[in-house]
Amino acid sequence: MEEGASPRLGHQWVAFAVMVTLLVAAPFVVYPVFLMKALCFALFACAFNLLIGYVGLLSFGHATFLGSAGYITAHAAKVWGWGPATAILAGAAAAGVLGLAVGVLAIRRQGIYFAMTTLALAQMIYFFCLQAPFTHGEDGIQAVPRGRLFGLLDLNHTLTLYFVVLAVFLAGFLIIYRAIHSPFGQVLKAIRENEPRAISLGYKADQYKLIAFVVSTLLAGVAGGTKALVFQLASLTDVHWTMSGEVVLMTLLGGLGTVFGPVVGAFLVITLENYLAQLGAWVTVVQGAIFVVCVLTFRRGVVGELARLIRKPL
């Protein structure tokens, strides 16, 4: 059992400090809305990574949780007039409930079947979102008010919003970190490495997997709700399977199963998309190329390779 203070993980706290410093300084140099987008995706990718990296489950329909939370948050903020905090919590709760339902159905199957089941269920929910009146289909929920956080912080002020989003991201990040480095996380690791043995030791593997799944979807929901407030828009793009593919790409590129990998991966992919946006469909080609290259020759991802270089887990 490792605690954060142990010198074996000291380098991770160094990395964490570097990350926080960079993120705090960044909005004064880089367009803050771009950074906020990257932060939301970074949290989304971290949540996804919890499943694939530490439980070994490839959830290929994870965008459902991002997008549906976005819709609920947008609806709560715009139509019910809820404040930003409660709206995001509502979105996350919705994602968690959805996650429970999907998890119960999908965890019955292993490996590939799990992936395909999550994908198919996600597609079902996409079509539901396409037709449900409250989502306004192709137009999405527009002009979502950002509101005042706890009645004090005016989120329409970009810098204020940025630091709120940063705080949300760091909170989510730390929750995941804590979960990984806890007894719960150890059991997950055991299940991933040898499920029959874990079961023979008395651990109810399915229950652990389900809990991890729901935690992941809750945090993906937080990311989705926050994103809806930042962009003041909830749209079909966030529940489409291409979004599910993107988060897989981010995590793969950053490093599956590493702590900082998803964050790095998210920033890299979002930056890439920004630069290539002028070129339209080249973005998809480049994304596909990164997938292929990563799977064939770069399976550890950026942070994974870095960790290998310094011979310590990152």
Binding site: A289, V295, L296
Partner: protein
């Protein structure tokens, strides 16, 4: 015209027929996927893109070589199948020892590349492809007007599906294939070139997708994203039918097409999701799929 269950027969039979046509495509595509998965244990996400390439090859042939539909039916599957074999030799081979998920991710990435390249070149609206003259026009069946081409689609895909089933389940070649799925090392020890069989099987599965693409070209627009959403429905079909079961894919494909058609009549809002709902139900009751074997 007396309404059946409150629906005028024209609407009912018309949608049923469209359902059968959709079912033909589901069956052809899930057949290809099932064949590939059965032997290679790879989920070929590129299947949708290969279906699209089949349609585009047909379009190219018409546009630049003046070769019509019947040539395309022959040439496109061969061309796309060959490309598939190239893919298998160069990339998929390297992943056989790894977790199956990497195969899924690789084929997903390839699908993105192929679809992106085509989209760059052609935009995302469709290219027109004219119906072959021999199949133009239609029959007025009284309760609806049935275009000849759509009748041909149903007939031809049924034939292909049954022929494939026959080859795999009833011929010696098929027996080797099935044996190699169960125990490749043993079959290799008997002197059968298993790697080559795997390569050819992948090529065959891919050419089935391309064939479906050629057949789709005259009725759906030939556009770069035509396979993108379809592939996910086909995944659901395969999960429902049972992975690796040939008969399962065929029956499920046609069956789900019909069910989707009926849903369009009685409850159109659910027509997009009914296949996924059925998948959920099957997963709850029989996780290995209707015709599958528990692995």
């Amino acid at each position: 015209m007396i309404p059946i269950l409150g629906i005028p027969p024209q609407a009912l039979f018309g949608q049923l027929l469209i359902g059968l046509i959709n079912g033909s495509f589901y069956a052809l595509l899930s057949l290809g996927l099932a064949v590939i998965f059965g032997l290679l244990n790879i989920i070929n996400f590129t299947h949708g893109a290969q279906y699209m390439m089949g349609a585009f090859v047909a379009w190219f042939l018409l546009q630049y070589a003046g070769l019509g539909y019947w040539w395309a039916l022959l040439i496109a599957p061969i061309v796309v199948g060959a490309l598939g074999i190239l893919l298998e030799r160069v990339m998929l081979k390297r992943l056989y020892g790894l977790d199956h998920l990497y195969g899924l991710l690789l084929t997903f990435g390839l699908a993105l590349i192929i679809q992106g390249l085509f989209r760059n070149q052609f935009g995302s609206s469709g290219q027109p492809y004219t119906l072959p003259a021999q199949l133009a026009g239609g029959q007025n069946l009284g309760f609806m007007f049935l275009p000849n081409y759509r009748a041909w689609v149903i007939g031809f895909s049924l034939t292909i599906c049954l022929a494939t089933w026959f080859v795999i389940e009833r011929t010696r070649l098929g027996a080797y294939l099935r044996a190699a799925t169960e125990n490749p090392t043993l079959v290799q020890a008997f002197g059968i070139n298993v790697p080559r069989m795997i390569t050819l099987t992948y090529g065959f599965g891919v050419s089935l997708a391309a064939l479906a693409g050629v057949m789709a070209a005259p009725i759906y627009q030939v556009n770069p994203l035509m396979g993108a959403d379809l592939i996910i429905v086909v995944f659901a079909v395969v999960v429902i039918g049972g992975m690796g079961s040939i008969l399962g894919s065929i029956v499920t494909g046609f069956g789900l097409g019909i069910i989707e058609g009926l849903t369009k009549v009685f409850y159109p809002e659910a027509s997009n999701t009914v296949i996924f709902v059925i998948m959920v139900l099957v997963l709850l009751v029989k996780p290995a799929g209707l015709f599958g074997r528990a692995q």
